[in-house]
Amino acid sequence: MLKYSIKRLFQSLLTLFIIVTVVFLLMRLLPEEGYFGDAYEKLDEAQREAILTSMGLRDPIHIQLINFYKNLLKGDLGESITFRPRVPVMEIIKDKVPYSLYFGLASIAISLIVGISLGIAMARNKSKFWDKLGTGYIVFVRAVPAAVYFLFIQIYITDIFKLPMLFKIDDPKTWILPTISMSLGGIASYAMWIRRYMVDELNKDYVKLARAKGLDSKKIMVRHVFRNAFVPMAQYLPATILFTISGSIYIESLYSIPGMGGLLVEVIKRQDNTLVQALVLIYSSIGIVGLFLGDILMALFDPRIKLER
């Protein structure tokens, strides 16, 4: 396991290196007007040059890149340049994390509990009413772009239940809809996978043997089918959990939740290179850690999988 982890760590570092480099270069390819926002018109050529130079953007690109790597190795992600100039990016991000984290955790809990229960109910009543209803829900959630129903939920549900439209930290009523909206996709995915894997397992010969052995169907479900159906899901679970707690880009901007997801959209618009780079680094690391944990979880559940030869 240790050897595997070390190998995996190096692979991950290489992946991260490639990602941040590509993002770094892409940000430099954006038109320069973006750095000035609305002030662009009011500044003359010389002033603009002076600002760009002061941001370090007039250095040759390889020098900029090398400086970026050096600072990264020192653990310094730099300072914001346009979003909140001169403020260290870590400080900006730190304030945003709790919002994303709490909404994410709540939504994960709801998705897992509701999604898995729905999936089990669907698998047990395959081709009957509950299965069809659940399938309808899953198809709807996965086929219709999330933006559409998120928007409808915000507009109509707030109207029906007289809920406020936007997030307010001290009003718990405003926490409900974002959490539910964030869970809809997760519920659909978990239900779909659990149903699918359980139906797969139910048709396997070992279930027939378990029946012939005299186990009742409840015990077969719990001891054999559910457990085995959970294994293929285990691989994706950590990644989806980590992504959820790192904030939903769309929901956060929709309800004006000051979390990390909304921040990313904002700083890309404002062309805040350092902040974008830092956020991309964080998101990629989360993704890589999630996949790694998934592999380990899988190996723990399934004795046939050995992580090293």
């Binding site: 396997k204 070992y206 043997l209 012939a212 052995k213 294994v231 046939r304």
Partner: protein
């Protein structure tokens, strides 16, 4: 044979399936008496209903199948009347256990084999924990698994096909059943392993006083293990008798054809015998003898009226009009006549 106790008695069993909106009759009024302690082989080609027939004894028919009429009498109860899972749990494993065809898929890949055997013991023998584990190891060693203490903690993927089949057998035997149904127990295995598994099953049958039913289409397996043979065709047992009787003095034209298809009976240089045509379509009512359309020696009555059993000897009967005293004399094929002669010579000498 008559003085032996009948342990399971099937009478006029009809099993139907609903398939794509149509109704298929898989078992057509089949009857069978199973004697305590015997070893019976049910042979027949794919789709003849041999698996379905035995699965119905344990309530393991697929969800789209049902027992339409008939009885399955076992320990004073009619299993054909059982409806709920609760009823069947009294039978499954506890009284009748089954060994399946494919050991590669019959075991749960994520549970140690020890736990899987132990599950059966805890369920049916009323012991738990350490004691059950000890017994599990005992069973594992009984089915010929070396170093059972170590193997107890291993997973199915660490076993070969033959070894997995031994585990599957251990599970069946660990249920402590009265009847053991082996559904093509060696079909998925290497030829060299087949003989070992059959020897093992024979040994376990003696050790645990089991009554065994083998389902197979391999007549070589039959000759090796069976006391009696039941030949199944289109959902009915058309001939049943002691092993030698069916092998050397077959009466039904289908049994003739089946035996003639054995490569061992082929003549060098000649093409091997095959049965022409296909088995009847079970979606339609079958009139007369189900084998008649494929039988070059079929009588007129074979197409009109279903034959009853005709007794050949106290232990041997067949459903063919050829055995009716009024029937014309029809000679079986060459190879079958040779078998008969060989048998007569042997039994006289």
């Amino acid at each position: 044979m008559d003085n032996r106790k009948v342990i399971l008695s099937v009478k006029d069993l009809v099993i139907k399936f609903r398939l794509r909106g149509q109704i298929l009759t898989a078992i057509r009024e089949a009857s069978l008496d199973l004697y305590e302690g015997e070893s019976l082989a049910i042979v027949g080609e794919s789709g003849s209903g041999k698996s379905v027939f035995t699965k119905s004894f344990m309530g393991l028919l697929d969800a789209n199948g049902w027992i339409d009429s008939g009885n399955i009498m076992f320990e004073g109860e009619d299993l054909a009347q059982y409806k709920s899972e609760k009823d069947w749990l009294k039978i499954r494993g506890k009284k009748i256990a089954m060994v399946f065809q494919d050991p590669m898929t019959s075991l749960n890949p994520l549970k140690t084999i020890g736990k899987q055997v132990q599950e059966a013991i805890e369920l049916h023998q009323g012991i738990k924990g350490e004691e059950a584990k000890k017994l599990t190891i005992q069973y594992l060693s009984d089915v010929g698994i070396h170093d059972p203490e170590k193997r107890y903690n291993q997973y199915p993927h660490e076993f070969s096909g033959g070894m997995r089949q031994r585990v599957v057998i251990a599970i069946a035997v660990a249920c402590n059943p009265k009847i053991l149904i082996c559904d093509e127990p060696t079909t998925a295995l290497d030829v060299t392993i087949q003989a070992q598994i059959l020897e093992l099953l024979k040994g376990l049958k003696e050790k645990y006083n089991l009554t065994t039913i083998y389902i197979t289409h391999d007549l070589g397996v039959v000759a090796n293990v069976a006391d009696r043979i039941a030949v199944m065709y289109a959902g009915d047992i058309i001939e049943i008798g002691l092993c030698e009787e069916v092998f050397y003095n077959p009466q039904h034209p289908y049994t003739w054809a089946l035996l003639s298809s054995l490569p061992q009976l082929g003549v060098k240089g000649q093409e091997l015998f095959t049965i022409k045509g296909t088995p009847p379509n079970l979606f339609y009512d079958i009139k007369g003898d189900a084998f008649a359309p494929r039988n070059p020696r079929a009588l007129k009555i074979d197409f009109v009226k279903r034959p009853p059993y005709f007794q050949v000897s106290p232990t041997h009967k067949a459903k063919t009009w050829l055995l009716d005293p009024r029937a014309p004399k029809v000679e079986p094929p060459e190879s079958i006549r040779a078998l008969r002669q060989q048998w007569e010579v042997e039994s006289n000498g």
